[in-house]
Structures are given as structure tokens and as C-alpha cells.
């Protein structure tokens, strides 16, 4: 089936088998390697992508469902503020979960410029990290929020 969608700002038109998951389509056919397969069943959040601004699991989605949508992965974020905040706060160790966390962070900060600890925990509850213990990830989100707000003050 032919699908037509926007991936990180670029128009994609491609023929894809109907059984293929969005995750495999993005990684294997389109080379988007930030999207990881952890559990493959919606528990870990490593495969999280933004579809029309909402964070969703690409492992629980068919590639054909991307038709007509706007998809953003870490490769397509317009700035590196969240990535830099994760590095700065020491919120990365092995890095496998990081793209998923960054996408969930992006989805949160688009809706909420100054999230509380409680709101951060809820927004990231679908992402698992087995290295950092989550505290530094929370710091990273707060730091990213601060950097975004500082940027908009200057403008």
C-alpha cells in the first residue's frame, strides 16, 4: 500500500506492506535509527515517536497508519535544547531509552512550559530507564524548560 506522510519535515511517498509496523518501517526502510525496539509491546517507550504532535508507540502502530500524518523523531527536532539538557544533567548512561524520553519530553513541553515534578513524572511514566534512576531525567526536563523559557525571554 502506498503511504504519503511527512517525516521530520520531508515528504515521503513509499510502498509498504500492510503487516509492517511503523517501527520497522522507520528503522529498516527509512534509516531512522533513533527509534529503538525495546519490548515491542508498549511497556518501555523506547520506540516513541511524535505523530501529529502526540507521543505514541511506533511498535504498536502499522506503517500504513502513518499515511497523511506528520511524524517527528529525534532526528527532526528543530533545536537541540532537550538533547543538550539531557547531556548537561547527566541524564544519559547507556542511551538506549534516551530518544524515547526526549520525544516524551518534547510532547510535554509543547503543552506545558513550566511542568511541576508531578507533571514531569506523569508525562514520562511510559518510558523506562534502567540506568539513571530517573532523578537526573527529571532534572534534565526542568533544565530544558528553563532553557526554552530563557530563549523566549530574549526574543
Amino acid at each position: 500500500m502506498i503511504v504519503k506522510f511527512k517525516l521530520n519535515g520531508k515528504e515521503i511517498v513509499k510502498d509498504v506492506p500492510v503487516y509492517k509496523r511503523a517501527l520497522d518501517f522507520l528503522r529498516d526502510d527509512l534509516g531512522i535509527l533513533s527509534v529503538k525496539e525495546g519490548c515491542g509491546e508498549g511497556e518501555c517507550g523506547a520506540c516513541t515517536i511524535l505523530v501529529d504532535g502526540k507521543n505514541v508507540h511506533s511498535c504498536l502502530m502499522l506503517a500504513v497508519e502513518l499515511d497523511g500524518k506528520e511524524v517527528i523523531t529525534v532526528e527532526g527536532l528543530e533545536d537541540k535544547i532537550i538533547q543538550n539538557a539531557y547531556v548537561e544533567a547527566g541524564a544519559i548512561q547507556c542511551g538506549f531509552c534516551t530518544p524515547g524520553f526526549i520525544i516524551s519530553t518534547k510532547a510535554l513541553l509543547e503543552q506545558n512550559k513550566n511542568p511541576s515534578s508531578e507533571e514531569i513524572k506523569e508525562a514520562l511514566e511510559g518510558n523506562l530507564c534502567r540506568c539513571t534512576g530517573y532523578l537526573k531525567i527529571e532534572d534534565a526536563v526542568k533544565l530544558a524548560a528553563k532553557m526554552y523559557n530563557k530563549g523566549s525571554d530574549e526574543r
Binding site: V18, G45, H57, V64, E65, E125, G126
Partner: protein
């Protein structure tokens, strides 16, 4: 493996496809794709319901209507926007994770008919009517769900929406017991709605998830409670009654004995939280 993928746009088209192909309907796929991968379901045909032209979530005749394809997050947003500040929001926000809530749907949850389904519990508490198409019939949730995973539908029928009562002036308590905040399939859950008048019960609804083949709610018992004084003694009686009514199983999440204790303790805990008491 999936070989056929359909996108019906009308009720009749969807109904005919379901009848002819025996394919699986999905909207968010948060349940179907897990089961396909695990080999619990094997089908070569899936029917994507998201192209169906439907109205949005709405309040009509003092009822909340949730159509097919409306996600948990859309429902949560609607509850907030319309200040329907009730137990429903408490329940919805505990379902899955943000990613699941962006894709998963209440209609999907009740159609799966799991005794652990959080929206199934909500549907029992709010006396849900299930709207079925193309027959346009409405059936109460308790008649719609027959047994775990079994629902009352003809081959050509599908669930078009859920209608919930809008309740105001009720105190409520909801809790689900599990091992992690997100992604919990509950070991046991409780939802209570109470309307009080001069410390007496005017109306009460109590439902439990994961402690019986379907959601446990006993309307006859509830009726006998109207007019009773709200106190420790009453809730201790209820804790014992519901413990007797429950018939849990042992599974990977907990033993039946543990679940039995939970039923008792959750009633007491609900009382403590609802009326700021410290009964053990």
C-alpha cells in the same frame, strides 16, 4: 500475519467488512498488536476504524457520549474543558501511559471485556449504555459483557459508542493496586460513588475490578444501603459482604487469597479516604 488492511468510512461498509472477513477491528491497536505479536490472536485481516466518520465526544440529554475512536486523552481533555470533575478523570489518568492514552480508546477497552479493564469498571459505575451499530440498539454494560473477553454482539455488529450518566454531588474514591504507576493491569481495583444526606446514604455505587470473571457490582446490595448512617460499622459490614461476593483467581499478578484480602482492605481504605477516618 496481516495480509488485508481496510479503512471503511461508513457504518454499513464497516459492518459488511466485519461480517464478510471476520477481521479484527482496531483503533489505537494498543491491545490488538500486542496480542498479534504474542500469538494470542491470529488473523490475516484488520479493519482500521479511524476513517469512520463520527461525531466527537459530547454531552447530550445529561449523558456523556464517547464515540468509537475517541482516545483516553481526548476524553480527559473533554472532562477538564467541561469541568465534569468526577471519578472518570481519576480513572482515565491511571490507564496505561501517555502513549497508550494517545491511542487507546474506551470503546476498545469495553469491547475487549477484560475483568481488569479500567474503563469497564467506569462503565459499570456510571450505568453505561452501549450503542451498537448498524442495528442502533442500546444495551446496558452488564448485559453487553457476558464473560471474560466475551461480548454480546452479532457478527455484523460493532460498538459505536458508550453513553455514561453524568453524576454530580457525589463523593468518589478510586484506587487500583499494582506494581508500577504506569502500565498497570490491576491486581484489584475499587471505584465508589456516594451521595450523602445528613450523614446518611442517598445513593451508593460500588464496583471492583479483577476480583471476579467480570466487574463486581451488586445493585441489590446497594439498594439495601439507602438511608443507612455512614459509619465505621457500615463499612466493616460492606468489606465483609464484598469479600464474600468476590471470586478472584490466582494468576501471574497475585494469588486469589491476596485479592480477597484486598477487596476487604480497599473498602476500609475507601471509607478512611472518603470520610477522613482511620479505621484499620
Amino acid at each position: 500475519m496481516i495480509k488485508n488492511y481496510f479503512r471503511p468510512k461508513t457504518i454499513d461498509e464497516l459492518s459488511e467488512l466485519k461480517y464478510k472477513t471476520n477481521g479484527y477491528l482496531f483503533s489505537g491497536g494498543t491491545d490488538l498488536f500486542v496480542k498479534l505479536r504474542a500469538g494470542i490472536i491470529d488473523t490475516d485481516t484488520v479493519i482500521d476504524t479511524k476513517y469512520l466518520d463520527t461525531k466527537g465526544i459530547e454531552i447530550k440529554d445529561k449523558k456523556l457520549f464517547i464515540p468509537i475512536n475517541a482516545t483516553y486523552n481526548e476524553l480527559r481533555y473533554f472532562i477538564k474543558e467541561n469541568k465534569l470533575n468526577n471519578i472518570l478523570e481519576d480513572i482515565v489518568k491511571t490507564i496505561g501511559s501517555p502513549m497508550i492514552r494517545n491511542r487507546g480508546t474506551p470503546v476498545g477497552n469495553i469491547s475487549n471485556a477484560s475483568p481488569a479493564g479500567d474503563f469497564v469498571l467506569a462503565s459499570y459505575l456510571f450505568n453505561a449504555q452501549i450503542l451498537i451499530e448498524p442495528s442502533s440498539k442500546k444495551i446496558p454494560i452488564k448485559d453487553f459483557i457476558k464473560s471474560p473477553g466475551q461480548i454480546n454482539l452479532e457478527q455484523n455488529e460493532f460498538v459505536y459508542g458508550i453513553e455514561l450518566e453524568l453524576l454530580t454531588d457525589y463523593k468518589f474514591y478510586f484506587e487500583k493496586v499494582g506494581r508500577r504507576n504506569a502500565m498497570i493491569i490491576s491486581i484489584a481495583s475499587i471505584g465508589i460513588l456516594i451521595k450523602e444526606e445528613d450523614n446518611k446514604i442517598n445513593d451508593i455505587r460500588i464496583a471492583f475490578g479483577s476480583v471476579a470473571p467480570t466487574i463486581l457490582r451488586d445493585e441489590n446490595l446497594e439498594k439495601t444501603l439507602i438511608g443507612k448512617t455512614i459509619d465505621e460499622e457500615l463499612f466493616k459490614y460492606l468489606a465483609n459482604e464484598y469479600q464474600k461476593l468476590s471470586s478472584p483467581i490466582t494468576d501471574v499478578r497475585a494469588t486469589k487469597e491476596y485479592r480477597k484480602s484486598l477487596v476487604h482492605n480497599l473498602v476500609i481504605k475507601a471509607y478512611n479516604n472518603l470520610f477522613e477516618k482511620v479505621v484499620r
